[in-house]
Symmetry: D2
Subunit: 139 residues, 4 copies
């Protein structure tokens, strides 16, 4: 396991909210992270679709960890802001957020992420995020 993957996995394991969502992480390579969860009725909004907030949660964590995977050793990351477009109702069996680093500056790392709903072999985009992550130097 690469160093950046170890760092990402260690931090993810401490995100209790990811556990609440039933989410798991996959680090493809430096700057590329996937987080997914299975549909569960406890995650829904009034129409039975997955709530935009649950979708946003894995988009945000995926962006944060994509940023962390390229940040200097010992840095922590903090989301400064993000914007989400909800493109289709979040209906499916599994939901996977895929993030990548768009530009890594010294202080700010800009990431983009898409969230897909899976049903069997089908995959459909349901949301997209553009966000800014701040890298915090080790104290």
């Amino acid at each position: 396991m690469e160093d950046f993957e170890r760092r990402v996995r260690a931090s993810f394991a401490q995100q209790r909210f990811m556990e609440t969502l039933g989410a798991t992480i996959h680090v493809s390579s430096a700057g590329k992270v996937e987080i997914e969860f299975a549909f569960h009725p406890t995650l829904t909004q009034q129409n039975g679709f997955v709530h935009a907030g649950a979708i946003t949660s894995i988009l945000d964590s995926a962006c944060g960890y994509a940023a962390l995977s390229v940040a200097p050793e010992g840095c922590d990351v903090l989301s400064a802001e993000f914007k989400v477009n909800l493109l289709a109702p979040a209906v499916g069996e599994r939901f996977v957020a895929r993030a990548n680093v768009k530009r890594a500056g010294k202080t700010l790392i800009v990431c983009a992420a898409d969230c897909f709903a899976r049903k069997g072999a089908d995959e459909k985009i349901v949301a997209t995020m553009l966000g800014t992550i701040m890298a915090l130097a080790p104290k």
Copy 2:
């Protein structure tokens, strides 16, 4: 209870994800909605702060219900997009999102919301949302 309040409460009661977060709603007046939850360790990120996704969830629902409270009877609402700035670590005993309608068009309703962390009598802003909600005419 006003008609708009009845509509908002009926829809909120069906948002299972709000129950997962332990959230409750308060409709102050047409176009003004508050949603809050208490701190709980199952909602945290790696530093023990409340996860940005949980904060976003109540900001988003508050905006959606602020929009619903001014939409014509029988309409449903759907978040089209939102942007969140995270202003301070979400540390506190309770978290309250307060939304209001910035402009209500026929199809699109723009809402703004702030989220505050409460500790005893203190209140501090931790996040702010600017979002667009789509009003769907009854079928």
Copy 3:
């Protein structure tokens, strides 16, 4: 010339602000539009870089015309909202915004666009937009 290209060019020709910026348009295919201008001192901010507002203007028009190129005949389009991340100082000889349609719904069309600064054969990303365009049915 395809129908969608004719529509886009006709509308672009009426955008006086694009003329003010010295901008020209290129429609690659349905859903893909480029708008560019050359550096000019009248477009700068305090450090001599091109102003974020000028960059945003071509990103926004490029997104709008990408949307128009896929909208039904006779529709007009209106930007509902956009978010821009400024990734690097806008320094270069030419600036080109490239937009594409991310998802076209009946009412809302979500577009993404990147802006690149060119210097000779070099090209470098300086900004990125994620925006929502509304399609207005012909009256």
Copy 4:
């Protein structure tokens, strides 16, 4: 004239693009800035409304200068990102962007701004911005 006002005015005078738009600045107090321009046909989009990019330009500069007015002496500011909602067609005689600081951190300053269209004594909101400005320490 206060120190912060002197700094803001000196920087604004160097923004050639503001001159292109015919814009003027007014610093009400630390953290509060207004920038306005008069309608001119060279600023329009296809329907004769003022282009969203021109509106965004004064919203962005107003946010930047609101941030500069509260930043430590000697700092420069740079827009990191912003989001704009276009609330109504930009029709009017004058357009005024009013920005204020929502939260000033050490590195990031979050600002909000509204743009109003004036016609005689009437004033109507046409756009709103939520943006993040980075404070750059003097070299």
